[in-house]
Amino acid sequence: MPTEWIMGFAGGIIIGLAAAFYLLVNGRIMGASGILGGVVDGSARDTLRERIGFIAGLVIVPGALAIAMGGADTHVNNNLIVVAAAGLLVGIGTRIANGCTSGHGVCGISRFSLRGIVATIFYIGAGGLTVVLFRHILGVV
């Protein structure tokens, strides 16, 4: 079994523990798009500090860990027009669908939520078709 799969599983367990902690301690669903989106559109004034704390941890801890590990690379596409279009689609789509990979995927599937399962089928399906179209037919990603 490749090391990357083992690291993936180990990292996944940590992600699941984070979601479990946020549920059992704070009483919240750990959905990245919902936590950030509520700050952006101003719909969550009463839970603002809790959300800012979460985002601060999400930025600072992996940032420090990456330095300790001698650097990390995200390999973002050099075509910034593609990146900007992708960002807009992710921002709009996750807010319309009320969730992303963490909320619908991790937190939804683990409680057998039909909405979480259907959302995951649609975003993985759309993502797969997009990669086929833009990588193998148009060659831009």
């Binding site: 690291m7 979601a19 940032g63 990146v83 669908a97 937190c107 993502g127 990603v141």
Partner: protein, 142 residues
């Protein structure tokens, strides 16, 4: 105290994303690229994450309230609807184009360079313009 504990949760989440490889767009696009050099890592990450969370939901069901008080989230909404399908499809298209979703986009911002900043900025813009678009999409069963 809530922000301190949410910082811990966010920090654990970010550490998990980095360790699992999900902050590397080549691994995410590799998972979606079923006709290329398919990379199954994301399935191991999802599986690993769902296990502790499934246990947490069972613990929550047996308890009255979260440790910091308040109440647990309500049961999941059973209805599907257009917003879920249209929104998830748009999200998937962007995810496939860039290989980034909201969690990793925030977690990798300190080392993601210009591309990472452009993605996060446009994602925030998208979140900001989304509410009126969502309101226009009539919530009917898909």
């Amino acid at each position: 105290m809530r922000p301190v504990f949410s910082f811990i949760a966010g920090g654990l989440f970010g550490a998990g994303l980095l360790i699992s490889g999900m902050t590397d767009t080549t691994k995410v696009i590799g998972w979606l690229d079923i006709f290329g050099a398919w990379d199954p890592t994301l399935a191991f990450v999802m599986g690993g994450a769902i296990l502790p969370m499934a246990i947490a939901w069972r613990i929550a069901a047996a308890r009255r309230a979260p440790a910091l008080g308040g109440s647990f989230p309500p049961p999941p909404e059973p209805r599907l609807g257009r917003r879920l399908v249209v929104g998830s499809t748009l999200f998937g298209m962007g995810w496939g184009l860039a290989g980034l979703c909201p969690g990793p986009a925030m977690a990798s911002i300190t080392w993601g360079g210009t591309g990472g900043l452009v993605f996060l900025a446009t994602m925030v813009l998208g979140m900001w313009v989304a509410p009126p678009l969502k309101a226009r999409l009539q919530e009917q069963p898909a």
